[in-house]
């Protein structure tokens, strides 16, 4: 059963860093280009993020995931190249379509910030189990009920996906065809979704009972089975990320 999310199981210094520190880093580095408002700073942030993906041994996965948004970026270049309000200098013409230098430069600027934001998120998401992140947020004060909902969604989605496969098997063993043309697959939808939805509702009710018996409604402070995540570089990294953000602000104000 594959867990929800982008997490890649690896051994690396980035994987070992605590989720809150990585979250702080991701938020700060994602904001740096927006605050600095300078393409050069944006490239520096991009290089830092790519470097951390290398250190985290997830560069390949990161670039593959980035390729997934390639279509969106290509559209951005075409649209901005054609209709950016400041367009003045034609650069490329393909038949009736003309792409302008100003529009393409603006698209590059937008794309750089978008890619930086995405890579910052990747540094966090590819190296952090979602459950660990929510756990640490709860430890930091996220209400337990909110944390539970987030965690259970993360766990139950893959479990439901696995259940779909079990239900499909059960229906195939009653002669229901699930392979073949689209209409055959469409016809197989209800016999799969029906048991999935009904049993999920029943399970939800039973789980609610079980949670009561397991003290979920108990008042008072909760404790945590896992010890708090401690890393000697946690605070230095957090401070460095914050400094980068402040530095970007100073750059903006000074510039």
């Amino acid at each position: 059963m594959r867990p929800v999310g982008l997490y890649v199981e690896r051994q690396s210094p980035i994987h070992g860093l605590d989720p809150i520190t990585k979250l702080s880093y991701a938020v700060c580095l994602a904001l740096v280009p927006f605050v600095a408002g300078d393409l050069r700073i944006t490239f520096v942030a991009l290089v830092v993020n790519l470097g951390l993906l290398v250190v985290g041994r997830v560069l390949r996965e990161g670039l593959l995931a980035l390729a997934g948004v390639g279509f969106f970026l290509a559209t951005l270049f075409i649209v901005q190249g054609m209709v950016y309000p400041g367009n003045a200098t034609p650069l490329v013409s393909v038949g009736p379509l003309v792409l302008y230098q100003e529009g393409l430069a603006h698209a590059a600027w937008l794309s750089a910030r978008f890619i930086n934001l995405t890579l910052s998120a990747f540094v966090l998401l590819f190296t952090t189990r979602p459950a660990d992140l929510v756990d640490e947020l709860m430890r930091a004060g996220l209400p337990p009920r909110v944390g539970y909902v987030l965690l259970s969604v993360l766990q139950i989605i893959p479990s439901m996906a696995a259940r779909v496969s079990v239900i499909q098997d059960a229906q195939r063993s009653r002669g229901m065809e699930t392979e073949g043309p689209v209409w055959v697959r469409m016809r197989a939808l209800l016999p799969v979704l029906g048991p999935l939805v009904i049993s999920s509702l029943v399970a939800m009710q039973e789980r609610a009972l079980a949670l009561e018996v397991r003290g979920f409604g108990a008042p008072g402070p909760r404790t945590f089975y896992r010890p708090p995540w401690q890393h000697r570089l946690a605070w230095p990294v957090r401070l460095a990320a914050l400094s980068a953000l402040l530095g970007a602000l100073v750059w903006r104000l000074a510039g």
């Binding site: 259970s152 009653r174 065809e177």
Partner: protein, 607 residues
């Protein structure tokens, strides 16, 4: 001593119920006792469990009268989370007991302790202890979602044990466990009771319960039919009149008029052995007179009249190897023939089970379900070939194979989705391309066969779990496949339900269909499945006649199984025969001219 559980005049009706689920129920449990709650389906057993934890009425609402107190707390006035500090409940379905929010088994065990704010050091000790008690320490890093049914059941118990309750309520905690797993759970409960734990346990496995319980509570239609020490409840005859099956060794003792030293029916198999030894001495003294009126028929004798041997097996697995995508290897070069071909006549390299209904037995995780999924085409082997009636199935879809192989899943809720039982029963037949009229005819016939003829218009989700399992069976029966595979059909069935399935297995055999049953119920195998395949860690340990296989206790031990209790009885008495059922034991025993009987005994129920 002050009771730790007090139930006085408890009457309860669910908000949507037409009748009371519990009616004037009263009993009291003293600290350290184990109370077994037994009864047929829909007796109110699970409702009683909910009531002991305050879920009834606090969560379910409905009409509530009477008083329930647990550990001095009135469950109607104390919040459930407060009660949960002193009392634990292991639900019938272990999967829904999972928090659904924890990544590993050990974190899942700790979930309740985190909620109660238990300090981490103490929490770690309790988690280790609880996992050790139920034997799941080796699963600590595994995802709870990847556990088998048996493993989940142990995890659910561990979760409650970690909360260190004074009173533990268990709703059928061994239903998914193999015999050795069941024994381990009962042994664990016995150890905990020595530390003062009070246990209220709903359980169908009467043989184990009678060995361990201090008191039995027999419920039927929400009312208390009997309450007291197991011996007294047994003696009252109420268990049988409520449709429960007595353990095989007790049926033997009852029929032979053998009694324990106190004059009551023996509760444990050791007591039956002792009573029969005394009886044998009495017989030698010349006082024996057979008291048996009717006999049940062991599976192999019944089937020997019905089965015909074939030259081509119905199902042949030729050098089949299979591993799951995560790398877990289940079968390696497995060659097995099922249906028709006798062990001696099997092609070289094959293990054959022989003619007649086949039971696939083995401990949890032995590969039983994987094997039948391969046969049904739901899984594909990495190498080797599977043939049905001599024809390879490699190129066929599972839906095409379903024309010849009907597979009834263990969990009916994986299949049911229609709003009427009749439509549900027609689903498979319609998939075969039959006309609606013919599909309905077959569906009605199948519903009659499983005892749901009068419930054809009901919504499947208004039926009990046992009935839903019967409905899933009916929907496959209506397809009239030459091969029918039943995965754990007796779980959640009361005794009449088990007997009905047994009769059906025999009927299908007489119709020339091959029936394969996956089960942990050895008494069912002894009565209805003359052929057995024993699986352990993906290998066939033994295959052949049930009698020959059950006569090898060491082999069964390797597979986490144990022989039927009449065979254990015969072994303990040093008999040379291998009786599989009470009737066969009695026949042999009376043939020896050994057996007491100074009073008439009841007839032996079949099976």
């Amino acid at each position: 001593m002050t009771p730790i559980v007090e139930v006085e005049g408890l009457t309860y009706r669910y908000p949507t119920g037409q009748a009371n689920a519990l009616e004037n129920v009263s009993f009291a449990v003293e600290a350290g006792q184990l109370v077994g709650v037994v009864g047929p389906n829909l007796a109110g057993k699970s409702t009683l469990c909910y009531a002991l934890l305050g879920l009834v009425p606090q969560v379910f609402r409905g009409q509530y009268e009477g008083r329930v107190a647990v550990a001095g707390m009135d469950v109607n006035r104390t919040p459930v989370h407060e009660l949960a500090r002193r009392a634990g409940l292991v639900f019938q379905n272990p999967f829904t007991q999972l928090s659904g929010a924890r990544r590993t088994v050990e974190e899942e065990v700790a979930f309740g302790l985190e909620n109660f704010g238990v300090p981490r050091g103490e929490m770690r000790r309790r988690v280790e202890w609880a996992m050790d008690q139920v034997g799941i320490v080796h699963l600590r890093e595994k995802s709870p979602f990847l556990l088998s049914g048996g493993e989940l059941q142990r995890l659910a118990i561990a979760c409650m044990l970690a909360q260190r309750p004074d009173v533990l309520v268990l709703d059928e905690p061994t239903s998914q466990l193999d015999p050795s797993g069941t024994r381990e759970v009962f042994d664990c409960i016995a150890r905990l009771r020595a530390d003062g734990l009070t246990v209220v346990m709903v359980e169908h496995k009467l043989e184990r319960l009678l060995e361990h319980a201090d008191r039995l509570l027999l419920l039927a239609d929400g009312r208390v039919r009997a309450w007291g020490p197991p011996g007294e409840v047994l003696q009252s005859g109420q268990l049988e009149s409520c449709g429960l099956a007595l353990p095989a060794h007790i049926r033997v003792a009852a029929c032979l008029g053998a009694r324990s030293a106190s004059g009551s029916l023996p509760l444990r198999i050791e007591d039956t052995v002792a009573a029969l030894r005394v009886a044998r001495l009495a017989a030698k003294a010349g006082s024996f007179e057979p008291a048996v009126r009717t006999m049940d028929t062991p599976a192999d004798r019944e089937e020997s009249r019905l089965s015909t041997s074939r030259t081509v097996p119905r199902i042949a697995l030729r050098g089949v190897s299979f591993a799951y995508p995560d790398g877990t290897r289940v079968f390696q070069e497995l060659s097995l023939a099922l249906g028709g071909v006798e062990p001696g006549a099997a092609p070289e390299g094959y293990v054959a089970a022989g003619a007649g209904p086949v039971a696939l037995i083995g401990e949890n995780g032995a590969g039983k379900t994987t094997l039948v999924k391969l046969i049904a085409g739901l899984l594909r082997p990495q190498s080797g070939e599977i043939l049905i009636d001599g024809q390879a199935i490699r190129a066929q879809t599972a839906a095409q194979i379903a024309r010849r192989v009907g597979l009834v899943f263990q969990n009916p809720d994986d299949q049911l989705f229609k709003s009427r039982a009749l439509e549900e029963a027609m689903f498979g037949a319609l998939n075969l391309g039959l006309s609606p009229r013919e599909a309905e005819r077959r569906a009605r016939e199948a519903l009659e066969r499983v005892g749901l003829g009068s419930l054809a218009e009901e919504n499947p989700y208004d039926l009990s779990l046992g009935q839903r399992k019967m409905l899933a069976l009916a929907s496959v029966l209506a397809m009239q496949t030459p091969i029918l595979i039943l995965d754990e059909p007796t779980i959640a069935q009361d005794h009449p339900g088990v007997e009905r399935i047994g009769r059906l297995v025999r009927e299908l055999q007489t119709e020339g269909r091959l029936v394969i049953v996956i089960t942990h119920d050895m008494e069912f195998v002894a009565s209805y499945c003359p052929r057995v395949v024993v699986l352990a860690r993906g290998a066939v340990l033994a295959a052949g006649s049930a009698r020959a296989v059950f006569a090898q206790p060491e082999l069964l031990g390797q597979a986490g199984l144990e022989p039927p209790s009449t065979l254990r009885l015969a072994r303990a008495l040093g008999l040379s025969a291998d009786p599989l059922t009470p009737g066969e034991f009695i026949e042999y025993w009376t043939g020896l001219g050994a057996g007491p009987s100074d009073r008439p005994a009841a007839s032996v129920p079949p099976g």
